[in-house]
C-alpha cells in the first residue's frame, strides 16, 4: 500500500493545491511543500528501513510489491514494485520536489494553484514511472509526466515558451509511441509463445525472442529512453525546454525527467533484451561518448547561462549511457550514482540561474560579469556546483564519472579514454561560466540582494547532499547493489555472449534472471 501512497500523495496534494489556489497564492505553496516533505520523509524512512534489513526478508532485490487488478481481460495490472534503484530515485524525486516548490516561492505569481497542481502531477508521474512494473502502467505514467510538464513550460515559461513546449512534447511523444509499439509487440510475441497475454514485467522478462525481433523491440524502447536521456542526436529539444521552462520546471526536467531515460535503460533494456543490448553495446557506448564530448562543446559555446547549464546535462547523461552499455558492474553502479548526483548538481545550478534571473532579469552572460563582488554568497554557491559539475573529487559527480570510466575501461579502453576527454571539456565550460558570470569587473552597477535565508538554506542542503554523496557514497551504493546485481549478472554474461555468440547459454541466463525476480505473486502487498 505504501507504494500507492507514494504516488497518491503528490497527486492528491496537487489537486488540493489547485482547489485552494483559486484566488489565493499562499496555501497552494504550503500544501505542495507539506506533501513533498511528507513524501521525502516516507521515502527516507523506506531507505533506512531497507538499510536495516527490515524490508527484504531475503537478499532478493525487490523490497516492496503492490499489485491490483486493473484490466484483467487484457492482462493489464496496476502493479508496482520497489527495489533499491527505484528507492534511490524516489528519494531524489521527493528531494528535488521540495527544492522546486521552495524555489518557486517568489518566482511564480500567476495561477499559483494550477502551477502547483502541474508540478506535483509531474512528480507523481515520475514516481509512478520509477515504480511501475506493468508495461501499460509504465506507459501510462510515462504520459502522465509529459502533459503537466508541457503545461509548466507553456504557461509559466520564458520568452520562447510556446516553441519550446511543443518541441518538448513532440520529441517525447514520438519516442513514447515507438515504445508503445514495442510494448505491444512484446505483449503479442509473449502471448503467442506462452498463451498468457500479459503486460507484467516479471513474466515478460522470460520471453524468448529471435534476435531480429528482439533488436527491433529493443530499439523501440531505446527510442523513448534515448529521447528522454537525451542521447545525441535526439537531444535538441532539451536546451529549448530547459531554457524556457520556469525554474521549478528546469529542476524537475533536468533532475528527474531525464533520469527516467536512464532508469528505463537499466530497468527494461538490459533485463528484457540483454542479447540485443549487448549487440548494440558499441553503438550505445559511442552515443554516450559523443554525447559527453558534443554536449560539453555546445555548453561552452553558449551565451545564455541557462542554456549553458542545459547543455551540460547532455554531457553528464552521456556518462549514464556509456555506463549502462559498457556492460560492466562498476560502470553500471557509476551510472546510477551519476544520475543521482547530476540531479542534485544540475538542479542546484538551475535554481541559481533562476534566482539570478529574478534579480537581474537576464540570462545573458555578456551582461553579467563581476557578480561575485555584488552577490558573494551566490558566487560561492555557483562555484561549488560548477566544481561538482566538472567532476572534482569530493563531490558525488566524481564518484559517478570515475566508476563509469573505470568500468568502461575494462570493456573498451578507447571509449573510456575518449570519454575522459570530457573531463577536460567539463572543466572548460564550468570555469568559463564562472569567469564570464562571476569574475572580472562588474559590467554595470547593480543594486541586488544576495541570497536570502530561505534561498541559502536550499543551496546549503543541496551542497551538503552532493558532498555527502562524494565523501560517503557507500550508503547509496549499498542500497542499489542488490537491485543492480541481477542486471549486472545478465549484463556481464550477455557482454561475454556478444563476443562469443552461443544461443543456448544465452537463453539459460535470461530464464535465470526471470527466476531471481520471481517471488512476486498474488494480489496485494507482501512485505
Amino acid at each position: 500500500m505504501i507504494l500507492v501512497w507514494l504516488i497518491v500523495i503528490p497527486l492528491a496534494a496537487g489537486v488540493l493545491a489547485w482547489v485552494v489556489g483559486r484566488g489565493d497564492s499562499v496555501w497552494p505553496r504550503w500544501t505542495a511543500l507539506a506533501a513533498m516533505v511528507l513524501e521525502f520523509v516516507l521515502a527516507v524512512w523506506l531507505w533506512v528501513d531497507s538499510a536495516s534489513g527490515a524490508l527484504a526478508t531475503t537478499k532478493l532485490p525487490w523490497l516492496l510489491h503492490a499489485r491490483y487488478e486493473w484490466i484483467p481481460e487484457l492482462g493489464i495490472g496496476f502493479s508496482l514494485a520497489m527495489d533499491g534503484l527505484s528507492l534511490v530515485l524516489v528519494v531524489l524525486s521527493a528531494f528535488l520536489g521540495i527544492v522546486s516548490v521552495v524555489c518557486s516561492w517568489s518566482e511564480i505569481e500567476e495561477q499559483v494553484g494550477f502551477f502547483h497542481f502541474n508540478l506535483l502531477a509531474t512528480v507523481a508521474g515520475i514516481i509512478g514511472v520509477f515504480l511501475a512494473t506493468d508495461l501499460i502502467l509504465f506507459y501510462f505514467f510515462w504520459e502522465i509526466m509529459l502533459v503537466p510538464m508541457y503545461l509548466l513550460i507553456r504557461i509559466w515559461g520564458h520568452e520562447n515558451r510556446a516553441y519550446a513546449a511543443i518541441k518538448f512534447f513532440l520529441f517525447t511523444q514520438a519516442g513514447a509511441l515507438a515504445m508503445l509499439v514495442a510494448i505491444l509487440a512484446l505483449y503479442f510475441l509473449h502471448g503467442q509463445q506462452t498463451g498468457t497475454y500479459t503486460f507484467d514485467y516479471f513474466q515478460l522478462i522470460g520471453t524468448t525472442l529471435n534476435p531480429a525481433a528482439s533488436m527491433l523491440i529493443m530499439l523501440g524502447f531505446f527510442a523513448a529512453f534515448a529521447v528522454k536521456l537525451p542521447a545525441v542526436p535526439f537531444h535538441t529539444w532539451l536546451p529549448d525546454a530547459h531554457t524556457e521552462a520556469p525554474t521549478a520546471g528546469s529542476v524537475i526536467l533536468a533532475g528527474l525527467l531525464l533520469k527516467t531515460g536512464g532508469y528505463g535503460l537499466i530497468r527494461f533494456i538490459l533485463p528484457l533484451f540483454p542479447g540485443s543490448a549487448a549487440a548494440f553495446a558499441n553503438a550505445g557506448m559511442a552515443l554516450g561518448v559523443v554525447g559527453i564530448i558534443y554536449g560539453a562543446i555546445l555548453a561552452f559555446a553558449q551565451t545564455d547561462l541557462k542554456r549553458l547549464v542545459a547543455y551540460t546535462s547532455i554531457s553528464h547523461l552521456g556518462f549514464v549511457l556509456l555506463g549502462v552499455f559498457s556492460f560492466n558492474g562498476m560502470a553500471l553502479q557509476g551510472a546510477v550514482i551519476q544520475m543521482v548526483c547530476h540531479g542534485i548538481s544540475t538542479g542546484a545550478l538551475f535554481v541559481l540561474v533562476g534566482l539570478l534571473q529574478e534579480r537581474i532579469h537576464t540570462r545573458d552572460l555578456d551582461q553579467m560579469g563581476g557578480l561575485w563582488s555584488t552577490v558573494p554568497r551566490m558566487g560561492g554557491m555557483a562555484l561549488v556546483f560548477a566544481l561538482a559539475s566538472l567532476g572534482l573529487p569530493g563531490f558525488g559527480n566524481f564518484i559517478g564519472e570515475f566508476l563509469v570510466l573505470m568500468g568502461t575501461f575494462h570493456t573498451n579502453h578507447w571509449m573510456a579514454a575518449v570519454a575522459a576527454g570530457g573531463l577536460v571539456l567539463a572543466c572548460v565550460y564550468a570555469l568559463w561560466m564562472m569567469l564570464r558570470g562571476f569574475f572580472g569587473a562588474a559590467t554595470q552597477e547593480r543594486n541586488i540582494s544576495d541570497l536570502s535565508a530561505r534561498e541559502m538554506l536550499v543551496m546549503a542542503v543541496m551542497a551538503a547532499a552532493i558532498f555527502w554523496l562524494g565523501v560517503f557514497p557507500q550508503p547509496t551504493i549499498d542500497v542499489t547493489v542488490p537491485a543492480l546485481d541481477g542486471v549486472r549478472k545478465v549484463a556481464r554474461l550477455a557482454g561475454e555472449e556478444s563476443r562469443t555468440p552461443d544461443v543456448a547459454k544465452f537463453q539459460q541466463l535470461k530464464t535465470g534472471l526471470g527466476r531471481t525476480t520471481k517471488p512476486m505473486q498474488g494480489p496485494g502487498e507482501n512485505r
Binding site: T236, Q333, G370, G394, H410, L423, L431
Partner: protein
C-alpha cells in the same frame, strides 16, 4: 602520537571550515590566528610524529592508518588511509613547516585585503589537500588531493578576481593541469584494470611481479602517470600556465607555485618509481623532458622584466632538474633538490613579495634598483636565496643538491654526457638570470621610492628560510667533500640508491669543480653584463638576431603563441560556429517541410466547386489509369 597522523591534515581542514563558514564575521586578528595557527599546529604535530617515526623501527617500513572506507564493492575498495613513510614524512614536514612560515608572512602581507578570511580559508584548504596528496596510500585518494591542490591553485591565482586577467590566468592553470590529470586518471584505470588495486604499495609489488621491464603495459601506465606529473609540475609541453599563475598574491606563488604543489609531479614519480623503472623508455623521456624544460625555462627567465616571472621560469627550470634526476634514477637526489628548492625558492618569492609591497606593487626589475641599503634584511635574505639558486659553491645548500643531480646525470647507468651538458648549460643560465635579478633590484641607482618596510611577521620567515637555504644542504655531501649521507640514508627505505657503474667514481671531484666553476662564471657574467658594462647586453639585444631572441625568450619560447593558434582558436571558433547546434537544423528542416506541406495542402482548399471538380476528375483518371495499366 603517531596514531594522530590524521590530525595533520585535519587541523588545517578545520581551519578552512571555520574560516569559510564564519570567517566574514570574525575579527581579522582571529582570522589570522586561526589561519596561520591551524597550519602551525599541524607543523608541530608533524614534527612530533616525525621525531617519533624516525626514532622507531617503523622508519624502515611504513605506517598506515585507515580513517574510513571511501567506498567498497566488487572488490574495489579505496579507503581514506594515510600512509607515513620516510618519503611522505619529508613531504609533510616541508609542506607544514614552509606552509606555516608562508602563512605567518601572509598575516602581514595580506593585512589590508578585504577578503582576508577567504584568503586564509583557501590557503588552509590548500595545505589540507597537499597533505592528503602526500599521505594518501592509494592513488584514488592521491587523486583527490591532486585535484584539491589544483582547485586551490585556481582559487588563489584568481584571488583578485576583479581583474579579468587574473581570472583568466586561473582558468588557464586549471584547464592545463586538468589535461595532464586526465591522462593520469586514465593511467589509474589502466593500473586498476591490469593489477586489480589502486593501493600504491601493493600496486608496485604487483607491477614488479607481473610486468617485465620494458613491457607495453608498464610503459603505457608510466606514460599516463607522467602526463599528470607534467601538468602539475609545469614541464614541457604543459608548462605555460605557471608564468601566468603569478597573477595570484605573492605568498601564494611561494607556497603553491614554488615550494609544494608544482613539485607534486616529482613526488608522484618518486612514489611510483618502481613502475617508472619498469618503463625505461618513459624514464628516459622524463630525463629528456627535464633537460629540455630546464633549458627552455632558463632562456625564458633570462629575458623577463617582471621579477615574479623570472622566479616562475626559474621554478619551471629547477623542477626540470628534479625531472632530470628522476629520469636517471637518482630518486633521492630529486627529493633532495625538492626540499632545498622549497626553502630557497619560497624565500625568493617571499623576498619578492617584500620588495613588491615596499615599493607599491612595482614588479618590473628595470624600475627597481639600489634597494640594498633601503631594505637590508630583505637584501641579505634574498641574496642567500639567490646564491642557493645559483648554486654558489660550498656555502649554499643549492650547490650540494644541484651538484648531486649533475653528477648522477653523468654517472648513472641511465645518464649520459648529453644530459650532463644540458644540466651544466642550465646551471650557467641559472646563475646568470639569478644574479641579473639581484643586480637589477638591489644594486645600481635607486629608481623607486620605498614606501614602507616589512615588519616582523614578514621578516621572521625570510630569516628562517635564509638559514635553511644555507645550511640544510649539509645533511648530504658528496664523497669528495665529507661524504655525508644522512638524507639519502634516511630515504633509503623507500628510494633505492643510484647504481654507479665502476670506474666513474673518480670523476665526481672533477665534475663537482666544473659545476662550481660554471656557477661562479655565471655570476661574474651577470655582474659584467647587467651591472658593470650593461652596454654589452644592450648592444647584443639591439641587433636583429638579439631582438628576435629576446622576443622569443620573453614570450616563453612561443609555446603560448603556438597553443593559441593550434588549439584554443580552432576550438573556440568551431564551438562558436556550432553554437546553435547543427543537428537541430535537421529537425528544423523537418518542421519546415511539414509546415510547407501543410500550407500547400491548405491552399488546395479554395472553396471553389470548379477546383474540386477538376480534382475529382483528375483523381478519377489516375485511379482508372492505374487499374488499367498496372
Amino acid at each position: 602520537m603517531i596514531d594522530l597522523l590524521w590530525l595533520i591534515p585535519a587541523l588545517p581542514f578545520a581551519g578552512f571550515l571555520v574560516l569559510i563558514l564564519a570567517g566574514s564575521r570574525l575579527p581579522r586578528i582571529v582570522v589570522a590566528v586561526l589561519g596561520a595557527g591551524s597550519v602551525g599546529f599541524s607543523a608541530v604535530v608533524a614534527c612530533l610524529i616525525g621525531i617519533e617515526f624516525i626514532s622507531s623501527p617503523l622508519v624502515k617500513t611504513s605506517f598506515t592508518r585507515t580513517v574510513w572506507t571511501w567506498m567498497s564493492f566488487e572488490g574495489f575498495s579505496p579507503s581514506t588511509s594515510f600512509c607515513l613513510d620516510s618519503l611522505s614524512l619529508l613531504m609533510v614536514l616541508v609542506v607544514t613547516v614552509v606552509g606555516f612560515l608562508i602563512h605567518l608572512y601572509s598575516v602581514e602581507f595580506m593585512a589590508d585585503d578585504d577578503a582576508y578570511h577567504r584568503y586564509f580559508a583557501y590557503m588552509n584548504l590548500f595545505v589540507t589537500a597537499m597533505l592528503v596528496l602526500v599521505l594518501a596510500d592509494n592513488l584514488m585518494l592521491l587523486y583527490l588531493g591532486w585535484e584539491g591542490v589544483g582547485l586551490c591553485s585556481y582559487l588563489l591565482i584568481g584571488f583578485w578576481y576583479k581583474d579579468p586577467v587574473n581570472a583568466r590566468a586561473a582558468m588557464k592553470a586549471f584547464v592545463m593541469t586538468r589535461i595532464g590529470d586526465t591522462g593520469m586518471i586514465v593511467g589509474l584505470f589502466l593500473l586498476y584494470n591490469s593489477l586489480g588495486t589502486l593501493e600504491i604499495h601493493e600496486l608496485m609489488v604487483r607491477a614488479v611481479r607481473d610486468w617485465p621491464v620494458g613491457s607495453v603495459m608498464a610503459t603505457v601506465a608510466a606514460a599516463l602517470l607522467l602526463c599528470g606529473a607534467l601538468g602539475k609540475s609545469a614541464q614541457l609541453p604543459l608548462q605555460t600556465w605557471l608564468p601566468d599563475a603569478m597573477a595570484g598574491p605573492t605568498p601564494v606563488s611561494a607556497l603553491i607555485h614554488a615550494a609544494t604543489m608544482v613539485t607534486a609531479g616529482v613526488y608522484l614519480i618518486a612514489r611510483t618509481h618502481e613502475l617508472f623503472a619498469l618503463a625505461p623508455a618513459v624514464q628516459a623521456a622524463v630525463a629528456v623532458i627535464g633537460v629540455a624544460t630546464l633549458l627552455v625555462a632558463g632562456f625564458s627567465a633570462l629575458a623577463q622584466q617582471d621579477l615574479k616571472r623570472v622566479l616562475a621560469y626559474s621554478t619551471i627550470s629547477q623542477i626540470g632538474y628534479m625531472f632530470l634526476a628522476l629520469g636517471v634514477g637518482a630518486w633521492s637526489a630529486a627529493m633532495f633538490h625538492f626540499a632545498i628548492h622549497a626553502f630557497f625558492k619560497s624565500l625568493l618569492f617571499l623576498g619578492a613579495g617584500a620588495i613588491i609591497m615596499s615599493t607599491h606593487h612595482e614588479q618590473n626589475m628595470f624600475r627597481l634598483g639600489g634597494l640594498r641599503t633601503q631594505l637590508p634584511v630583505t637584501f641579505w635574505t634574498f641574496l642567500a636565496g639567490a646564491a642557493s639558486l645559483a648554486a654558489l659553491p660550498l656555502i649554499t645548500s643549492g650547490f650540494y643538491s644541484k651538484d648531486a643531480i649533475l653528477w648522477y646525470a653523468w654517472s648513472s647507468e641511465k645518464g649520459s654526457v648529453w644530459l650532463w651538458l644540458g644540466g651544466v648549460a642550465g646551471a650557467l643560465l641559472t646563475s646568470i638570470y639569478t644574479f641579473r635579478m639581484v643586480f637589477l633590484i638591489f644594486f645600481g641607482e635607486a629608481r623607486t621610492k620605498v614606501y614602507k618596510r616589512p615588519g616582523t611577521a614578514m621578516l621572521v620567515p625570510l630569516i628562517v628560510l635564509a638559514v635553511l637555504s644555507m645550511v640544510a644542504g649539509f645533511i648530504e655531501l658528496p664523497h669528495t667533500l665529507g661524504d655525508v649521507r644522512l638524507f639519502s640514508g634516511y630515504l633509503g627505505a623507500v628510494l633505492p640508491p643510484v647504481p654507479i657503474p665502476p670506474g666513474q667514481a673518480s670523476l665526481e671531484g672533477i665534475l663537482g669543480i666544473v659545476a662550481a666553476a660554471v656557477s661562479v662564471v655565471g655570476i661574474c657574467l651577470a655582474y659584467l653584463l647587467f651591472l658593470k658594462v650593461p652596454q654589452i647586453a644592450d648592444r647584443a639585444a639591439s641587433t636583429l638576431a638579439g631582438r628576435a631572441l629576446h622576443r622569443l625568450w620573453l614570450e616563453g619560447c612561443g609555446f603560448d603563441w603556438l597553443y593559441q593558434r593550434l588549439l584554443v582558436f580552432p576550438f573556440v571558433t568551431i564551438a562558436r560556429i556550432n553554437r546553435s547546434d547543427f543537428i537541430d537544423f535537421f529537425y528544423q528542416l523537418a518542421a519546415f517541410l511539414a509546415e510547407g506541406l501543410h500550407q500547400g495542402l491548405s491552399a488546395t482548399q479554395t472553396g471553389r466547386t470548379r477546383h474540386y471538380a477538376v480534382g475529382i476528375g483528375v483523381g478519377a483518371l489516375i485511379i482508372i489509369g492505374m487499374a488499367v495499366w498496372l
